[in-house]
C-alpha cells in the first residue's frame, strides 16, 4: 500500500480498540446509496521506478530551447545553493507558521524577506507574499478602493500594463462594482500617453504605473506618480523586482515632498530565483506605506520577544485575515507562496546588492546587443524609441506566426507575438535576452532570422520557411 505503513496486525488491533468489525464499518454514517464503490476510472498505481521512467520520457519529449521570450516570466541563472536548501524537508514539508515557536525558521526568513522587499521597492512594509504578480495587482486595486475615503470605485490602468495582469484583475474585481479604465500609450514611444491621461475626465481611486512596462520600456514614472497624487489618487507601481537593483525604487518616484513615491508596489517575484516552470508556482509581492498596512491583504511577520525577552518572530495583524474576520476580511487569501519566497530570499542573499545589479545590467546589455543584431536584418525594425530594460519590440515584414514557427524548428523561441493582445501590433514581436544568453546565442538568432526572412521575402518565392523542410 503506497505510503500507508499499516501491517495486518496493526489493522486488527486498531479495529479492536475502536470496536469496529472492519474498516468499511467506519463509513457507516454515510448513506449507502452514495457509496461509489471505488474508482475504476483511475489507472492502476505505478511503482516509483515506473513513474520515474514515464516522467523522464515526457520531459525529454519537451526538450530544451534557446529562449528569447520574456513577457512576464524570465530566464535567469539560479545559484546551485538555492533549491537544495528550499527543498530541505524542514522548509518543504512545514505547515503555515501559526505555531510560532515551532516555526522560527520560516518566520525569521519571512521577516528577512519583508526587509529585502521593502528596501528593494523603497517602501515601508512588505507582506509575506501573494499568489503571483497578476493577482497581486488585483489585490492592490481592491486595497486602493478600500483606502479611498470618498468611496470612488474607479481605477486607471494603462494599456502598457501586462495584458494578463489586467485580465486577472478584471476577473477578481468584476463582482465588486469596480471600474477599470484603460489609458492609451504613445505609438512612437510605447509608454503611457501623458496628454491622453490629462484629458481623461472623472475621479479615480488609483493610477497603475508599470515599470518597465509590458513592452520593456521605461515609463515616465516621476510624472505619472505626481499626476496621480495631484488628482488625489494612489499610485500603484507594478514592477520587475530585478530591475529595481538598477532602477529608481517606487518609494522615491515623483517630486521630493511628504507624499513622494508610489503608495503600493506589486509585482511577480519569479525573476528572483524561481524557475519558469511553464508558468508557476511563482509568487506575488506587495509593499506599501506604513499608513496603509492595515488595508494590506496577506500574511505579515513581526518581530517581538518571548517570555525570556529574547527576540523572536510571529504572524501579526491577523485580525485583517479571513480566519479571524471571516466575511469582513481584507481578502479571502489564506495559503500564499511561502516556498517560493524561501527561494527568493536565499537567492537575494546569495547575489547581494552588487550581484543583483550586475544581473540586471547584463540582461539590459544583452537585450541591447540582441536588438542591434536583429534590426540589422533586412525586413526588421525597432518599433518604439524609448529606453528599455531587458525587453523590446521589433516589427517583421513577414507573418509573425510563420517566423516564430520557423525559428522554433531551429530550437529558438524567438519571442512573444503581440497581435493577440494588441491588434495594431500584429506584425510585432516582444523579445527578451537575459544574462543567460551568450553572444553566440544572439548571433544564432540573428542568422536564423535573416535566413527565414530572406527566403520568405522573394528570393525563393513560394518556398516555405525552413520549418517545413
Amino acid at each position: 500500500m503506497p505510503f500507508i505503513p499499516h501491517t495486518e496486525s496493526d489493522i486488527r488491533s486498531m479495529l479492536a480498540s475502536i470496536g469496529a468489525a472492519s474498516t468499511d464499518a467506519l463509513f457507516d454514517e454515510i448513506p449507502a446509496e452514495l457509496n461509489c464503490g471505488g474508482l475504476p476510472g483511475i489507472p492502476e498505481g505505478l511503482s516509483e521506478m515506473h513513474v520515474t521512467r514515464l516522467m523522464h520520457r515526457r520531459a525529454a519529449q519537451d526538450g530544451f530551447y534557446s529562449n528569447f521570450i520574456g513577457a512576464g516570466a524570465y530566464e535567469h541563472h539560479i545559484p546551485a545553493a538555492v533549491w537544495p536548501i528550499v527543498t530541505r524537508g524542514e522548509f518543504y514539508s512545514a505547515y503555515t507558521p501559526y505555531q510560532a515557536e515551532a516555526s522560527q525558521g520560516t518566520l525569521q526568513l519571512l521577516y528577512e524577506y519583508q526587509t529585502m522587499m521593502a528596501s528593494l521597492t523603497g517602501l515601508d512594509v512588505s507582506n509575506a507574499s501573494l499568489y503571483d504578480g497578476a493577482s497581486a495587482l488585483a489585490e492592490a486595486v481592491l486595497m486602493a478602493v478600500r483606502a479611498n475615503k470618498a468611496g470612488c470605485r474607479r481605477v486607471l490602468v494603462p494599456a502598457t500594463v501586462h495584458p494578463r495582469y489586467l485580465a486577472v484583475t478584471r476577473t477578481t474585481v468584476k463582482n465588486q462594482n469596480i471600474e477599470l479604465v484603460s489609458v492609451p500609450f504613445d505609438k512612437t514611444t510605447g509608454v503611457t500617453d501623458l496628454a491622453a491621461l490629462e484629458a481623461m475626465a472623472g475621479e479615480a481611486a488609483a493610477l497603475v504605473i508599470p515599470q518597465p512596462n509590458f513592452f520593456g520600456a521605461l515609463e515616465p514614472v516621476d510624472a505619472l506618480t505626481d499626476w496621480a497624487h495631484a488628482h488625489n489618487m494612489l499610485a500603484i507601481a507594478v514592477v520587475n523586482p530585478l530591475a529595481l537593483a538598477l532602477l529608481k525604487p517606487p518609494g522615491l518616484w515623483g517630486a521630493v515632498g511628504k507624499n513622494q513615491g508610489a503608495d503600493i508596489c506589486v509585482g511577480d517575484g519569479q525573476p528572483l530565483g524561481v524557475p519558469m516552470s511553464s508558468g508557476g508556482p511563482y509568487f506575488g509581492f506587495m509593499t506599501t506605506r506604513q499608513t496603509l498596512v492595515r488595508q494590506m491583504p496577506g500574511r505579515l511577520v513581526g518581530r517581538t520577544v518571548d517570555l525570556d525577552g529574547q527576540p523572536g518572530f510571529t504572524l501579526t495583524l491577523q485580525a485583517r485575515e479571513q480566519h479571524i474576520r471571516r466575511s469582513k476580511a481584507t481578502s479571502n487569501i489564506c495559503t500564499n507562496q511561502g516556498l517560493l519566497v524561501t527561494a527568493a530570499t536565499i537567492h537575494m542573499a546569495l547575489l547581494g546588492p552588487a550581484g543583483l545589479k550586475s544581473v540586471a545590467l547584463e540582461s539590459h546589455a544583452k537585450t541591447r546587443a540582441l536588438l542591434e543584431k536583429l534590426v540589422s536584418v533586412p525586413g526588421v525594425e525597432r518599433v518604439f524609441n524609448s529606453t528599455f530594460f531587458h525587453e523590446a519590440v521589433i516589427r517583421v515584414n513577414t507573418p509573425v506566426d510563420d517566423v516564430l514557427r520557423a525559428l522554433r524548428a531551429q530550437g529558438i523561441l524567438g519571442g512573444y507575438a503581440l497581435g493577440g493582445d494588441y491588434p495594431e501590433l500584429a506584425d510585432c514581436i516582444l523579445v527578451c535576452a537575459t544574462e543567460t544568453k551568450t553572444d553566440d546565442d544572439l548571433e544564432q538568432y540573428r542568422q536564423q532570422l535573416e535566413r527565414i526572412l530572406s527566403r520568405r521575402n522573394g528570393r525563393e518565392p513560394g518556398v516555405p520557411p525552413c520549418a517545413y523542410k
Binding site: T96, A102, D132, P275, G279, S358
Partner: protein
C-alpha cells in the same frame, strides 16, 4: 541573528552573478537607483549556513507528527518533488508554443481527468492557485450562472457557522451577502434553519462534508434538495476530501461545484504556507463558466482552452495558468497511488482517526461528538480541564510542542469551546499514534499537577512563548540597521 547581521561591506558570493557586467551607460540618470537596496553582503557559505540553520528551527512533516485538523499534513513523497523538478519542466517558458510542451500538457490533461473521476464532476480546471482561490472561482461561477440566466436577485450565500473563514470571505469578494446558519447538537447542519434561510434571494450554499467538526453530514441528500428547490446551487469545500476519497464523490452527492486542495488530499507540500493548488470541478451546467486556461485534447494534441474557446468563462486567475509545478507533483502522487491506492487513503485516514479518538477517549479525554463516527478527524474539548486547572487549549498545544508533536488545530471550529481538532492522516503508523496518546496523557497530568509548567510552555524550542500583543502593538515588520 539575521542574515543582515552576518554581512560585511564588500563581501560577495562572486560566482553567482555575471563577471564584468557593463555599466548602464545609456539609461537616463533620473531613472536610476542612487543607493543600493538593503540586501546582505555575504559569502556563499554564510548564506548556506544561515538558511540551513534556520530550517533546523522548524517543525515539519519530515521531522515531526502534525495532527493538524483540517490541514491533512500527510507525508509528501520525495519522488513527486524530484520528478516535477526535471530540468526540461523547470526551464519551459509559459508562453512557449504548446507544441514544445506536449509531455507537460498531457500530464495536466490526465490530472484533470483523474480529478473528474475522483470527484464525480463533469469538468475540471486546474487554474486556481490555492484553496481560497478555488473557492473564489467556484462562487464566481455560481454568480456567473445566475447572471447568465438573468436571475440577478440572488444576493445571498448560505454558510454554516462551522465553516472555514475563507468561505464567508470568498462570498464577500464575489459581491454576495453571507447568511450564517447554525449547527445542531449532533454536528449536522440545522435543517430547519436551512429551510428558513433559503428563498428567491439564495444564490447558493457552501458546505464542507465531512464538516469541520469531523463528521459526515448524514442529511446531505435532504440538504441538496432544499437548496436546489429554492433555485440555489451547492458548493463543496474540498478541504476534507481526504476523508472520502474513493468512497463518496461530491458529484454523486449532488454538488454543483467544488474545489480541491491538492496540498492536502494529493500530498503536495505545504512549503511553510504555500504554494498550494485549488483546482475546481463543476457539474455540466457550470461548465461554460470554468476559469481559463484548462487543457483540451484534439486528436492527441494538447493545448490550452482560452477566451475564444470559453467565452462565458469567469476569466483568468493567474498570469500563466496556475501553479504548474504543484500540479505535476499531484500527478506523480496520483499515478503512484492509482485508483485502489486512493480508496485506501480514505480507509486508513478513517482508521487512524477513529483509533486515535478511541484511545484518547479511553485515556480520559472528552470527545466533542462521542456518539458520532469520526471521519478523518475529530474534536477533543478541553473545557473541563480549563475550568478545573485554568489550562487552555492553547497552553496544552504549546506544551505538546515540547514533546515533539506539532499542536493540533486549536480554537477552530469556534463553536466547540477549548477544542483541539485532530487529524492524523493515513501515512502515520500505529506507534506514532500511540506515542502521541502518551504525550497527551502526560500533558494532561502536568496540567493537573504543575499548571505553571504548561502555561509557560514551550520550554525546549528555539523560542519560548512569543508576545503576540507586543508584535501587533509595536509593529516591527522590517529590520533597520542600527
Amino acid at each position: 541573528m539575521l542574515i543582515f547581521e552576518h554581512a560585511h561591506p564588500g563581501r560577495r558570493a562572486h560566482a553567482q552573478a555575471p563577471y564584468n557586467a557593463p555599466a548602464a551607460f545609456d539609461l537616463p540618470a533620473d531613472q536610476l537607483r542612487q543607493t543600493p537596496p538593503l540586501l546582505p553582503e555575504t559569502s556563499e557559505l554564510d548564506v548556506v549556513r544561515h538558511y540551513t540553520g534556520l530550517s533546523q528551527k522548524n517543525f515539519s512533516i519530515d521531522t515531526q507528527f502534525y495532527p493538524l485538523g483540517s490541514c491533512t499534513m500527510k507525508y509528501n513523497p520525495r519522488a513527486c518533488n524530484s520528478l516535477a523538478m526535471l530540468p526540461q519542466f523547470l526551464s519551459r517558458h509559459p508562453l512557449a508554443d504548446v507544441a514544445t510542451g506536449q509531455g507537460f500538457l498531457v500530464s495536466m490533461y490526465e490530472l484533470q481527468e483523474m480529478l473528474m473521476e475522483v470527484t464525480g464532476m463533469a469538468a475540471v480546471s486546474l487554474a486556481p492557485m490555492a484553496g481560497a482561490h478555488g473557492e473564489f472561482a467556484g462562487v464566481a461561477m455560481i454568480r456567473a450562472y445566475h447572471d447568465a440566466r438573468g436571475d440577478t436577485a440572488r444576493r445571498e450565500i448560505i454558510v454554516p457557522d462551522a465553516a472555514h473563514g475563507t468561505n464567508p470571505a470568498t462570498a464577500t469578494m464575489c459581491g454576495y451577502v453571507v447568511k450564517e446558519i447554525p449547527t445542531d447538537r449532533q454536528g449536522n447542519v440545522d435543517l430547519d434553519a436551512l429551510k428558513a434561510a433559503v428563498g428567491p434571494q439564495t444564490a447558493g450554499l457552501m458546505l464542507t462534508n465531512p464538516s469541520t467538526l469531523g463528521v459526515f453530514e448524514k442529511t446531505i441528500v435532504e440538504i441538496q434538495k432544499i437548496v436546489h428547490a429554492a433555485g440555489g446551487l451547492s458548493y463543496y469545500d474540498g478541504a476534507n476530501l481526504n476523508a472520502i476519497l474513493g468512497r463518496v464523490r461530491p458529484g454523486d452527492m449532488g454538488f454543483d461545484v467544488i474545489h480541491m486542495n491538492l496540498h492536502k488530499t494529493f500530498s503536495t507540500p505545504h512549503g511553510g504556507g504555500g504554494p498550494g493548488a485549488g483546482p475546481v470541478g463543476v457539474s455540466e451546467r457550470l461548465q461554460p463558466f470554468l476559469p481559463i486556461p484548462y487543457v483540451v485534447s484534439e486528436r492527441d494534441f494538447y493545448r490550452w482552452a482560452e477566451e475564444a474557446d470559453v467565452p462565458q468563462s469567469i476569466g483568468r486567475m493567474s498570469a500563466f495558468g496556475g501553479n504548474m509545478g504543484v500540479l505535476l507533483r499531484a500527478w506523480v502522487y496520483a499515478r503512484m497511488l492509482g485508483g485502489v491506492g486512493m480508496q485506501r487513503v480514505a480507509e486508513f485516514a478513517a482508521l487512524n482517526a477513529n483509533y486515535l479518538a478511541a484511545e484518547l477517549n479511553k485515556a480520559g479525554f472528552e470527545l466533542a461528538f462521542p456518539e458520532r463516527r469520526a471521519s478523518h478527524e475529530f474534536i477533543v474539548t478541553l473545557k473541563k480541564l480549563k475550568d478545573e486547572t485554568g489550562i487552555s487549549a492553547m497552553d496544552f498545544a504549546k506544551r505538546l510542542l515540547d514533546y515533539g508533536f506539532h499542536a493540533p488545530t486549536t480554537y477552530f471550529p469556534m463553536l466547540v469551546p477549548e477544542c483541539l481538532l485532530i487529524e492524523p492522516t493515513e501515512t502515520e503508523s500505529k506507534e506514532t499514534l500511540d506515542a502521541f496518546v502518551q504525550a497527551m496523557v502526560a500533558v494532561k497530568r502536568e496540567a493537573e499537577s504543575q499548571p505553571d509548567l504548561v502555561k509557560s510552555a514551550p520550554h525546549k524550542l528555539p523560542s519560548r512563548r512569543l508576545d503576540d500583543v507586543k508584535a501587533a502593538r509595536e509593529l516591527d515588520l522590517v529590520w533597520k540597521p542600527a
